[in-house]
Protein backbone atom coordinates (compact mmCIF):
# COMPACT_ATOMS: atom_id res chain seq x y z
CA UNK A 1 0.00 0.00 0.00
CA UNK A 2 1.41 3.39 -0.95
CA UNK A 3 2.20 5.74 1.89
CA UNK A 4 -0.10 8.75 2.14
CA UNK A 5 1.62 12.09 1.82
CA UNK A 6 0.89 15.45 3.29
CA UNK A 7 1.85 18.17 0.85
CA UNK A 8 2.56 21.51 2.43
CA UNK A 9 3.57 24.82 0.89
CA UNK A 10 7.10 25.70 1.99
CA UNK A 11 8.12 29.20 2.99
CA UNK A 12 10.07 29.64 -0.24
CA UNK A 13 7.18 28.45 -2.39
CA UNK A 14 8.60 24.96 -2.87
CA UNK A 15 6.05 22.27 -1.92
CA UNK A 16 7.22 19.76 0.67
CA UNK A 17 5.98 16.21 1.06
CA UNK A 18 5.66 14.59 4.49
CA UNK A 19 4.87 10.89 4.83
CA UNK A 20 1.74 10.34 6.91
CA UNK A 21 2.05 7.77 9.71
CA UNK A 22 -0.46 4.95 9.46
CA UNK A 23 -2.28 2.99 12.15
CA UNK A 24 0.70 0.66 12.61
CA UNK A 25 3.07 3.49 13.51
CA UNK A 26 0.43 5.03 15.76
CA UNK A 27 -0.19 1.78 17.57
CA UNK A 28 3.54 1.12 17.94
CA UNK A 29 4.16 4.58 19.41
CA UNK A 30 1.14 4.29 21.70
CA UNK A 31 2.22 0.90 23.01
CA UNK A 32 5.70 2.19 23.87
CA UNK A 33 4.21 5.24 25.60
CA UNK A 34 1.70 3.09 27.43
CA UNK A 35 4.45 0.85 28.77
CA UNK A 36 6.47 3.87 29.90
CA UNK A 37 3.44 5.37 31.68
CA UNK A 38 2.51 2.14 33.37
CA UNK A 39 6.09 1.52 34.48
CA UNK A 40 6.36 5.06 35.87
CA UNK A 41 3.09 4.69 37.77
CA UNK A 42 4.02 1.28 39.13
CA UNK A 43 7.42 2.56 40.19
CA UNK A 44 5.79 5.45 42.04
CA UNK A 45 3.24 3.20 43.74
CA UNK A 46 5.94 0.74 44.73
CA UNK A 47 8.05 3.56 46.15
CA UNK A 48 5.06 4.94 48.05
CA UNK A 49 4.13 1.56 49.49
CA UNK A 50 7.72 0.92 50.54
CA UNK A 51 8.00 4.35 52.15
CA UNK A 52 4.66 3.95 53.92
CA UNK A 53 5.81 0.64 55.38
CA UNK A 54 9.43 1.41 56.17
CA UNK A 55 9.38 5.14 56.99
CA UNK A 56 5.73 6.20 57.56
CA UNK A 57 6.78 9.44 59.32
CA UNK A 58 8.33 10.70 56.03
CA UNK A 59 4.89 10.89 54.48
CA UNK A 60 3.40 12.65 57.56
CA UNK A 61 0.57 10.13 57.72
CA UNK A 62 -1.41 10.29 60.94
CA UNK A 63 -2.07 6.99 62.66
CA UNK A 64 -5.03 5.28 61.01
CA UNK A 65 -4.88 7.58 57.97
CA UNK A 66 -5.01 4.75 55.46
CA UNK A 67 -7.24 6.55 52.97
CA UNK A 68 -4.95 9.54 52.98
CA UNK A 69 -1.91 7.33 52.50
CA UNK A 70 -3.46 5.47 49.61
CA UNK A 71 -4.51 8.75 47.99
CA UNK A 72 -1.00 10.15 48.40
CA UNK A 73 0.33 7.13 46.59
CA UNK A 74 -2.30 6.73 43.87
CA UNK A 75 -3.09 10.35 43.00
CA UNK A 76 0.36 11.31 41.64
CA UNK A 77 0.43 8.02 39.74
CA UNK A 78 -2.93 8.80 38.16
CA UNK A 79 -1.85 12.33 37.36
CA UNK A 80 1.29 10.93 35.71
CA UNK A 81 -0.78 8.42 33.74
CA UNK A 82 -3.37 10.88 32.46
CA UNK A 83 -1.14 13.90 31.87
CA UNK A 84 1.68 11.97 30.22
CA UNK A 85 0.63 12.67 26.63
CA UNK A 86 -0.42 16.34 26.91
CA UNK A 87 2.56 17.39 28.99
CA UNK A 88 5.21 15.54 26.99
CA UNK A 89 3.75 16.50 23.63
CA UNK A 90 3.87 20.16 24.62
CA UNK A 91 7.38 19.94 26.08
CA UNK A 92 8.80 17.86 23.23
CA UNK A 93 7.17 19.90 20.44
CA UNK A 94 4.71 17.29 19.23
CA UNK A 95 6.60 14.17 20.18
CA UNK A 96 6.67 11.68 23.03
CA UNK A 97 9.30 9.04 23.77
CA UNK A 98 7.08 6.48 22.03
CA UNK A 99 6.62 8.64 18.94
CA UNK A 100 10.33 9.33 18.89
CA UNK A 101 11.11 5.63 18.91
CA UNK A 102 8.47 4.94 16.28
CA UNK A 103 9.89 7.75 14.14
CA UNK A 104 6.75 9.87 14.17
CA UNK A 105 5.84 13.40 15.16
CA UNK A 106 2.76 15.59 15.26
CA UNK A 107 2.62 18.50 12.85
CA UNK A 108 -0.11 20.88 11.77
CA UNK A 109 -1.68 20.55 8.35
CA UNK A 110 0.70 23.28 7.25
CA UNK A 111 3.63 21.13 8.35
CA UNK A 112 4.48 23.33 11.33
CA UNK A 113 5.07 22.42 14.96
CA UNK A 114 1.64 22.57 16.64
CA UNK A 115 1.04 25.07 19.43
CA UNK A 116 0.12 24.23 23.00
CA UNK A 117 -3.59 24.86 22.38
CA UNK A 118 -3.75 22.42 19.46
CA UNK A 119 -1.87 19.74 21.38
CA UNK A 120 -4.13 20.08 24.42
CA UNK A 121 -7.23 20.00 22.21
CA UNK A 122 -5.90 16.88 20.48
CA UNK A 123 -5.57 15.17 23.84
CA UNK A 124 -8.92 16.36 25.14
CA UNK A 125 -10.67 14.54 22.33
CA UNK A 126 -9.20 11.23 23.49
CA UNK A 127 -12.46 11.16 25.48
CA UNK A 128 -14.22 10.35 22.21
CA UNK A 129 -11.42 8.48 20.47
CA UNK A 130 -11.18 5.91 23.26
CA UNK A 131 -14.89 5.06 23.05
CA UNK A 132 -16.25 2.48 23.60
CA UNK A 133 -13.02 0.55 24.35
CA UNK A 134 -9.44 0.34 23.08
CA UNK A 135 -9.57 3.46 20.92
CA UNK A 136 -12.20 1.88 18.66
CA UNK A 137 -13.57 5.22 17.45
CA UNK A 138 -10.05 6.53 16.87
CA UNK A 139 -8.99 3.46 14.90
CA UNK A 140 -12.10 3.55 12.69
CA UNK A 141 -11.58 7.26 12.11
CA UNK A 142 -7.94 6.63 11.17
CA UNK A 143 -9.02 4.00 8.68
CA UNK A 144 -11.62 6.22 7.08
CA UNK A 145 -9.77 9.52 6.81
CA UNK A 146 -7.32 10.15 3.96
CA UNK A 147 -4.59 11.47 6.25
CA UNK A 148 -5.04 8.66 8.81
CA UNK A 149 -6.09 10.99 11.61
CA UNK A 150 -8.25 10.38 14.67
CA UNK A 151 -10.97 12.71 15.89
CA UNK A 152 -8.57 14.57 18.18
CA UNK A 153 -6.39 15.35 15.17
CA UNK A 154 -9.40 16.52 13.17
CA UNK A 155 -10.38 18.95 15.93
CA UNK A 156 -6.85 20.19 16.50
CA UNK A 157 -5.88 20.31 12.82
CA UNK A 158 -2.88 18.04 13.34
CA UNK A 159 -1.41 15.09 11.45
CA UNK A 160 1.00 12.40 12.61
CA UNK A 161 3.85 12.19 10.11
CA UNK A 162 6.90 10.02 9.75
CA UNK A 163 9.89 11.84 11.12
CA UNK A 164 13.24 10.44 10.04
CA UNK A 165 15.29 13.48 10.87
CA UNK A 166 18.21 11.37 12.11
CA UNK A 167 18.52 9.19 9.04
CA UNK A 168 17.76 12.22 6.88
CA UNK A 169 20.62 14.23 8.27
CA UNK A 170 22.90 11.21 7.94
CA UNK A 171 21.90 10.84 4.36
CA UNK A 172 22.51 14.52 3.71
CA UNK A 173 25.87 14.27 5.45
CA UNK A 174 26.79 11.36 3.25
CA UNK A 175 25.84 13.28 0.16
CA UNK A 176 27.83 16.23 1.49
CA UNK A 177 30.89 14.05 1.98
CA UNK A 178 30.49 12.72 -1.52
CA UNK A 179 30.19 16.18 -2.95
CA UNK A 180 33.37 17.21 -1.14
CA UNK A 181 35.43 14.21 -2.15
CA UNK A 182 34.25 13.91 -5.69
CA UNK A 183 34.39 16.34 -8.58
CA UNK A 184 31.09 14.91 -9.75
CA UNK A 185 27.75 16.64 -9.47
CA UNK A 186 25.94 15.58 -6.27
CA UNK A 187 23.22 13.90 -8.29
CA UNK A 188 25.69 11.90 -10.32
CA UNK A 189 27.63 10.97 -7.20
CA UNK A 190 24.41 9.82 -5.52
CA UNK A 191 23.59 7.79 -8.62
CA UNK A 192 26.93 5.99 -8.57
CA UNK A 193 26.68 5.42 -4.84
CA UNK A 194 23.23 4.02 -5.29
CA UNK A 195 24.53 1.62 -7.92
CA UNK A 196 27.43 0.56 -5.71
CA UNK A 197 25.10 0.04 -2.75
CA UNK A 198 22.91 -2.26 -4.82
CA UNK A 199 25.79 -3.92 -6.66
CA UNK A 200 25.35 -7.35 -5.04
CA UNK A 201 21.58 -7.35 -5.53
CA UNK A 202 21.72 -6.58 -9.26
CA UNK A 203 22.09 -9.09 -12.01
CA UNK A 204 25.77 -9.16 -13.26
CA UNK A 205 24.88 -8.25 -16.82
CA UNK A 206 22.55 -5.45 -15.77
CA UNK A 207 25.00 -3.89 -13.31
CA UNK A 208 27.81 -3.99 -15.87
CA UNK A 209 25.63 -2.24 -18.44
CA UNK A 210 24.65 0.40 -15.91
CA UNK A 211 28.24 0.90 -14.76
CA UNK A 212 29.51 1.22 -18.34
CA UNK A 213 26.76 3.68 -19.17
CA UNK A 214 27.61 5.81 -16.16
CA UNK A 215 31.35 5.71 -16.76
CA UNK A 216 30.96 6.69 -20.40
CA UNK A 217 28.93 9.70 -19.39
CA UNK A 218 30.81 10.78 -16.29
CA UNK A 219 34.41 9.65 -16.59
CA UNK A 220 36.03 12.00 -19.05
CA UNK A 221 39.49 10.55 -18.37
CA UNK A 222 38.64 7.15 -19.87
CA UNK A 223 37.61 6.83 -23.53
CA UNK A 224 34.51 4.69 -24.25
CA UNK A 225 36.38 1.76 -25.93
CA UNK A 226 38.46 1.36 -22.75
CA UNK A 227 35.31 1.35 -20.65
CA UNK A 228 33.84 -1.39 -22.83
CA UNK A 229 36.97 -3.47 -22.25
CA UNK A 230 36.75 -3.38 -18.43
CA UNK A 231 35.52 -6.46 -16.59
CA UNK A 232 33.10 -6.37 -13.67
CA UNK A 233 35.67 -6.04 -10.90
CA UNK A 234 37.43 -3.21 -12.65
CA UNK A 235 34.18 -1.49 -13.48
CA UNK A 236 33.32 -1.44 -9.80
CA UNK A 237 36.77 -0.25 -8.80
CA UNK A 238 36.61 2.49 -11.42
CA UNK A 239 33.29 3.68 -10.09
CA UNK A 240 34.71 3.76 -6.57
CA UNK A 241 37.71 5.73 -7.82
CA UNK A 242 35.43 8.16 -9.51
CA UNK A 243 33.53 8.76 -6.28
CA UNK A 244 36.67 9.22 -4.22
CA UNK A 245 38.46 11.45 -6.68
CA UNK A 246 39.47 14.79 -5.16
Amino acid sequence: MATEELTVRGLTGVDLKLDVAGIGTRAYAFLIDWHIRVLLCLAWILLGVLLARVQPHWLHIPPGGRVLASLMVTLPALVCYFLYHPVLEVLMHGRTPGKRMAGARIVTREGATPGTGALLMRNLFRLIDTLPILYAVGVVCCMLTPQRVRIGDLAAGTVLVIDESKSRSKSLERLGALAQQSSLEPGAAALIEDLLDRWQDLEPRGRSTLARGLLKKLDSAMPPPQVDALDEVRLRARLQDLLGRA
Binding site: V14, R168, E173, L191
Partner: protein
Protein backbone atom coordinates in the same frame (compact mmCIF):
# COMPACT_ATOMS: atom_id res chain seq x y z
CA UNK B 1 28.51 23.14 2.38
CA UNK B 2 26.16 20.17 2.69
CA UNK B 3 28.04 19.08 5.80
CA UNK B 4 27.15 22.40 7.42
CA UNK B 5 23.57 22.09 6.21
CA UNK B 6 23.32 18.56 7.59
CA UNK B 7 24.56 19.82 10.97
CA UNK B 8 21.93 22.57 10.89
CA UNK B 9 19.20 20.05 10.02
CA UNK B 10 20.27 17.97 12.99
CA UNK B 11 20.54 20.84 15.47
CA UNK B 12 17.64 23.13 14.53
CA UNK B 13 14.78 20.90 15.81
CA UNK B 14 16.59 20.38 19.12
CA UNK B 15 16.97 24.05 20.01
CA UNK B 16 14.41 25.28 22.52
CA UNK B 17 15.71 28.87 22.60
CA UNK B 18 17.13 30.36 19.45
CA UNK B 19 19.40 33.39 19.16
CA UNK B 20 18.90 35.75 16.19
CA UNK B 21 22.12 34.44 14.61
CA UNK B 22 20.96 30.84 14.94
CA UNK B 23 17.57 31.73 13.51
CA UNK B 24 19.19 33.43 10.55
CA UNK B 25 21.47 30.44 10.01
CA UNK B 26 18.50 28.07 10.09
CA UNK B 27 16.53 30.22 7.65
CA UNK B 28 19.52 30.47 5.34
CA UNK B 29 19.91 26.69 5.44
CA UNK B 30 16.19 26.29 4.78
CA UNK B 31 16.36 28.59 1.75
CA UNK B 32 19.43 26.83 0.38
CA UNK B 33 17.91 23.40 0.84
CA UNK B 34 14.61 24.45 -0.72
CA UNK B 35 16.45 25.87 -3.74
CA UNK B 36 18.51 22.69 -4.10
CA UNK B 37 15.41 20.60 -3.65
CA UNK B 38 13.59 22.43 -6.43
CA UNK B 39 16.55 21.83 -8.76
CA UNK B 40 16.95 18.22 -7.64
CA UNK B 41 13.30 17.47 -8.30
CA UNK B 42 13.70 18.75 -11.81
CA UNK B 43 17.08 17.19 -12.58
CA UNK B 44 17.09 14.03 -10.43
CA UNK B 45 13.54 12.90 -9.82
CA UNK B 46 13.25 9.88 -7.51
CA UNK B 47 16.95 9.90 -6.66
CA UNK B 48 18.60 9.48 -3.28
CA UNK B 49 19.85 13.06 -3.36
CA UNK B 50 16.33 14.38 -3.91
CA UNK B 51 14.92 12.19 -1.13
CA UNK B 52 17.61 13.37 1.27
CA UNK B 53 16.98 17.00 0.37
CA UNK B 54 13.23 16.49 0.64
CA UNK B 55 13.56 15.04 4.12
CA UNK B 56 16.05 17.64 5.31
CA UNK B 57 13.87 20.43 4.01
CA UNK B 58 10.79 19.00 5.73
CA UNK B 59 12.67 18.74 9.02
CA UNK B 60 13.75 22.36 8.82
CA UNK B 61 10.24 23.41 7.80
CA UNK B 62 8.82 21.93 11.01
CA UNK B 63 11.60 23.53 13.06
CA UNK B 64 11.19 26.95 11.45
CA UNK B 65 7.39 27.00 11.77
CA UNK B 66 7.20 27.02 15.53
CA UNK B 67 5.02 29.23 17.69
CA UNK B 68 7.14 32.01 19.21
CA UNK B 69 7.72 31.84 22.94
CA UNK B 70 6.32 35.07 24.29
CA UNK B 71 4.92 33.45 27.39
CA UNK B 72 3.86 36.66 29.19
CA UNK B 73 2.12 38.30 26.26
CA UNK B 74 0.47 35.03 25.24
CA UNK B 75 -1.00 34.55 28.71
CA UNK B 76 -2.15 38.15 28.72
CA UNK B 77 -3.75 37.79 25.28
CA UNK B 78 -5.41 34.60 26.42
CA UNK B 79 -6.99 36.16 29.51
CA UNK B 80 -7.64 39.63 28.12
CA UNK B 81 -8.83 38.86 24.59
CA UNK B 82 -9.35 35.23 23.69
CA UNK B 83 -11.33 34.02 26.70
CA UNK B 84 -13.79 36.98 26.65
CA UNK B 85 -14.17 36.58 22.86
CA UNK B 86 -14.94 32.89 23.18
CA UNK B 87 -17.34 33.51 26.08
CA UNK B 88 -19.17 36.21 24.13
CA UNK B 89 -19.57 33.93 21.12
CA UNK B 90 -21.38 31.22 23.14
CA UNK B 91 -23.51 33.56 25.26
CA UNK B 92 -26.72 32.67 23.43
CA UNK B 93 -26.06 28.94 23.63
CA UNK B 94 -25.21 29.26 27.32
CA UNK B 95 -28.66 30.65 28.03
CA UNK B 96 -30.34 27.77 26.20
CA UNK B 97 -28.18 25.21 27.98
CA UNK B 98 -28.94 26.86 31.34
CA UNK B 99 -32.64 26.57 30.49
CA UNK B 100 -32.17 22.91 29.61
CA UNK B 101 -30.36 22.32 32.90
CA UNK B 102 -33.11 24.11 34.78
CA UNK B 103 -35.84 22.17 33.00
CA UNK B 104 -34.13 18.82 33.60
CA UNK B 105 -33.54 19.75 37.26
CA UNK B 106 -37.23 20.47 37.61
CA UNK B 107 -38.05 17.21 35.79
CA UNK B 108 -35.74 15.26 38.12
CA UNK B 109 -37.26 16.93 41.16
CA UNK B 110 -40.81 16.15 39.98
CA UNK B 111 -39.89 12.57 39.04
CA UNK B 112 -38.40 11.66 42.43
CA UNK B 113 -41.09 13.54 44.30
CA UNK B 114 -43.75 11.56 42.44
CA UNK B 115 -41.92 8.20 42.28
CA UNK B 116 -39.46 8.15 45.23
CA UNK B 117 -38.42 4.55 44.53
CA UNK B 118 -36.63 5.79 41.37
CA UNK B 119 -33.95 7.38 43.55
CA UNK B 120 -32.00 4.11 43.35
CA UNK B 121 -31.30 5.01 39.70
CA UNK B 122 -29.30 8.11 40.60
CA UNK B 123 -28.00 7.53 44.14
CA UNK B 124 -25.96 4.73 45.71
CA UNK B 125 -27.31 2.47 48.45
CA UNK B 126 -25.01 4.14 50.96
CA UNK B 127 -26.25 7.62 50.12
CA UNK B 128 -29.88 6.50 50.32
CA UNK B 129 -29.32 4.79 53.68
CA UNK B 130 -27.57 7.87 55.06
CA UNK B 131 -30.35 10.25 54.01
CA UNK B 132 -33.02 7.90 55.35
CA UNK B 133 -31.21 8.07 58.70
CA UNK B 134 -31.14 11.86 58.59
CA UNK B 135 -27.55 12.30 57.48
CA UNK B 136 -26.25 13.84 54.24
CA UNK B 137 -23.39 12.05 52.43
CA UNK B 138 -21.54 15.38 52.43
CA UNK B 139 -21.31 15.37 56.26
CA UNK B 140 -18.69 12.64 56.23
CA UNK B 141 -16.49 14.06 53.47
CA UNK B 142 -13.87 15.55 55.78
CA UNK B 143 -13.70 12.41 57.92
CA UNK B 144 -12.63 10.37 54.91
CA UNK B 145 -9.91 12.61 53.50
CA UNK B 146 -8.47 16.08 54.13
CA UNK B 147 -9.89 19.12 52.34
CA UNK B 148 -7.03 19.37 49.86
CA UNK B 149 -7.54 15.80 48.65
CA UNK B 150 -11.31 16.28 48.51
CA UNK B 151 -10.79 19.44 46.44
CA UNK B 152 -8.53 17.64 44.01
CA UNK B 153 -10.97 14.78 43.60
CA UNK B 154 -13.91 17.11 43.08
CA UNK B 155 -11.89 19.21 40.65
CA UNK B 156 -10.89 16.22 38.54
CA UNK B 157 -14.46 14.93 38.53
CA UNK B 158 -15.80 18.31 37.43
CA UNK B 159 -13.15 18.64 34.75
CA UNK B 160 -14.19 15.28 33.30
CA UNK B 161 -17.85 16.38 33.23
CA UNK B 162 -16.93 19.72 31.63
CA UNK B 163 -14.63 18.13 29.06
CA UNK B 164 -17.32 15.58 28.29
CA UNK B 165 -19.98 18.25 27.84
CA UNK B 166 -17.67 19.97 25.34
CA UNK B 167 -16.26 16.98 23.43
CA UNK B 168 -19.50 15.04 23.12
CA UNK B 169 -20.94 18.05 21.32
CA UNK B 170 -19.20 16.54 18.32
CA UNK B 171 -21.94 13.91 18.20
CA UNK B 172 -24.20 16.55 16.63
CA UNK B 173 -24.89 18.01 20.06
CA UNK B 174 -26.62 14.90 21.36
CA UNK B 175 -23.79 14.00 23.72
CA UNK B 176 -23.82 17.47 25.26
CA UNK B 177 -27.59 17.48 25.70
CA UNK B 178 -27.40 14.03 27.29
CA UNK B 179 -24.76 15.12 29.79
CA UNK B 180 -26.54 18.35 30.73
CA UNK B 181 -29.90 16.62 31.07
CA UNK B 182 -28.42 13.80 33.13
CA UNK B 183 -26.73 16.24 35.51
CA UNK B 184 -29.94 18.26 35.83
CA UNK B 185 -32.01 15.15 36.50
CA UNK B 186 -29.56 14.01 39.17
CA UNK B 187 -29.46 17.40 40.85
CA UNK B 188 -33.25 17.75 40.87
CA UNK B 189 -33.72 14.15 42.00
CA UNK B 190 -31.31 14.51 44.90
CA UNK B 191 -32.95 17.78 45.95
CA UNK B 192 -36.38 16.13 45.98
CA UNK B 193 -35.06 13.09 47.84
CA UNK B 194 -33.31 15.09 50.57
CA UNK B 195 -36.33 17.38 50.83
CA UNK B 196 -38.48 14.33 51.53
CA UNK B 197 -36.37 13.58 54.62
CA UNK B 198 -36.11 17.19 55.75
CA UNK B 199 -32.52 17.60 54.52
CA UNK B 200 -33.23 19.80 51.48
CA UNK B 201 -32.08 22.95 53.22
CA UNK B 202 -28.90 21.16 54.37
CA UNK B 203 -28.10 20.19 50.78
CA UNK B 204 -28.76 23.73 49.57
CA UNK B 205 -26.54 25.04 52.34
CA UNK B 206 -23.80 22.68 51.11
CA UNK B 207 -23.98 23.73 47.47
CA UNK B 208 -24.51 27.44 48.10
CA UNK B 209 -20.82 28.39 48.10
CA UNK B 210 -19.54 26.43 45.13
CA UNK B 211 -22.72 25.58 43.20
CA UNK B 212 -23.31 28.85 41.29
CA UNK B 213 -19.92 28.77 39.57
CA UNK B 214 -19.83 25.00 39.17
CA UNK B 215 -23.22 24.90 37.45
CA UNK B 216 -22.43 27.97 35.37
CA UNK B 217 -19.21 26.37 34.17
CA UNK B 218 -21.03 23.19 33.20
CA UNK B 219 -23.51 25.34 31.25
CA UNK B 220 -20.62 27.17 29.56
CA UNK B 221 -18.95 23.90 28.57
CA UNK B 222 -22.31 22.67 27.29
CA UNK B 223 -22.68 25.85 25.27
CA UNK B 224 -19.20 25.37 23.83
CA UNK B 225 -20.12 21.77 22.97
CA UNK B 226 -23.28 22.97 21.24
CA UNK B 227 -21.29 25.54 19.26
CA UNK B 228 -18.93 22.71 18.27
CA UNK B 229 -21.87 20.66 17.06
CA UNK B 230 -23.15 23.63 15.07
CA UNK B 231 -19.78 23.92 13.36
CA UNK B 232 -20.21 20.35 12.12
CA UNK B 233 -23.89 20.61 11.25
CA UNK B 234 -23.71 24.04 9.63
CA UNK B 235 -20.08 24.57 8.62
CA UNK B 236 -18.95 28.14 8.09
CA UNK B 237 -15.73 27.11 6.34
CA UNK B 238 -15.32 25.21 3.06
CA UNK B 239 -15.19 21.81 4.77
CA UNK B 240 -16.70 20.40 7.97
CA UNK B 241 -13.24 19.41 9.19
CA UNK B 242 -11.91 22.93 8.75
CA UNK B 243 -15.00 24.36 10.41
CA UNK B 244 -14.57 21.99 13.37
CA UNK B 245 -10.90 22.86 13.70
CA UNK B 246 -11.55 26.61 13.63
CA UNK B 247 -14.36 26.29 16.15
CA UNK B 248 -12.28 24.12 18.50
CA UNK B 249 -9.38 26.58 18.21
CA UNK B 250 -11.69 29.49 18.98
CA UNK B 251 -13.35 27.77 21.96
CA UNK B 252 -10.19 26.21 23.43
CA UNK B 253 -9.45 29.24 25.66
CA UNK B 254 -12.94 28.97 27.14
CA UNK B 255 -12.08 25.49 28.38
CA UNK B 256 -8.94 26.85 30.02
CA UNK B 257 -11.17 29.39 31.79
CA UNK B 258 -13.57 26.61 32.81
CA UNK B 259 -10.71 24.56 34.26
CA UNK B 260 -9.43 27.53 36.27
CA UNK B 261 -12.91 28.36 37.56
CA UNK B 262 -13.47 24.72 38.50
CA UNK B 263 -10.20 24.72 40.40
CA UNK B 264 -11.56 27.55 42.54
CA UNK B 265 -14.93 25.83 42.90
CA UNK B 266 -13.16 22.61 43.92
CA UNK B 267 -11.21 24.46 46.60
CA UNK B 268 -14.42 26.02 47.94
CA UNK B 269 -16.16 22.63 47.86
CA UNK B 270 -13.27 21.01 49.70
CA UNK B 271 -12.56 23.68 52.30
CA UNK B 272 -15.77 25.68 52.86
CA UNK B 273 -18.84 23.72 51.76
CA UNK B 274 -18.50 20.68 54.08
CA UNK B 275 -17.33 22.73 57.08
CA UNK B 276 -20.31 23.37 59.42
CA UNK B 277 -18.55 26.36 61.03
CA UNK B 278 -19.33 28.59 58.02
CA UNK B 279 -22.67 30.37 58.24
CA UNK B 280 -25.21 30.60 55.42
CA UNK B 281 -24.49 34.31 55.04
CA UNK B 282 -20.80 33.63 54.56
CA UNK B 283 -21.52 30.86 52.06
CA UNK B 284 -23.89 33.15 50.18
CA UNK B 285 -21.22 35.84 50.02
CA UNK B 286 -18.61 33.37 48.78
CA UNK B 287 -20.93 31.84 46.20
CA UNK B 288 -22.26 35.14 44.87
CA UNK B 289 -18.86 36.84 45.06
CA UNK B 290 -17.14 34.05 43.16
CA UNK B 291 -19.93 34.08 40.58
CA UNK B 292 -19.45 37.84 40.05
CA UNK B 293 -15.72 37.26 39.75
CA UNK B 294 -16.44 34.64 37.11
CA UNK B 295 -18.58 37.13 35.16
CA UNK B 296 -15.83 39.74 35.35
CA UNK B 297 -13.27 37.19 34.22
CA UNK B 298 -15.35 35.98 31.28
CA UNK B 299 -16.35 39.46 30.16
CA UNK B 300 -12.71 40.62 30.16
CA UNK B 301 -13.20 43.21 32.93
CA UNK B 302 -10.69 41.45 35.14
CA UNK B 303 -7.89 42.18 32.66
CA UNK B 304 -8.92 45.45 30.97
CA UNK B 305 -7.20 46.56 27.79
CA UNK B 306 -4.92 49.61 27.92
CA UNK B 307 -6.82 52.71 26.76
CA UNK B 308 -4.53 53.27 23.76
CA UNK B 309 -5.26 49.76 22.49
CA UNK B 310 -8.98 50.26 22.98
CA UNK B 311 -8.91 53.58 21.09
CA UNK B 312 -7.01 51.99 18.20
CA UNK B 313 -9.47 49.15 18.08
CA UNK B 314 -12.39 51.58 17.88
CA UNK B 315 -10.87 53.75 15.13
CA UNK B 316 -12.72 53.18 11.84
CA UNK B 317 -10.59 51.64 9.10
CA UNK B 318 -11.25 54.47 6.63
CA UNK B 319 -9.44 56.91 8.89
Amino acid sequence: MWQALAAEVRLAPQRSRVSPEEAQRTLQAYRTLARDLASARELLPRQAATAALESACATLHVAVNRTPRYADSRWLTLFRDRIPQAARSVRGWALWIALLLLASTFAGWWLIRTYPELISLIASERMIDGVEHGQLWTDQILNVAPSSVVSLRIFSNNVVVTAGAFCFGLLFGLGTFYMITLNGLMLGGLLAFTQRYGLGSELLRFILAHGPVELSVICLAGAAGTALSESVIRPTWPTRTESLRRCAEHLGPLLVACALLLLGAGLIEGFISPDPRFSIRFRLCVGFGYWLLMLAFLSGRLFPKPKAVEATARTPRSL
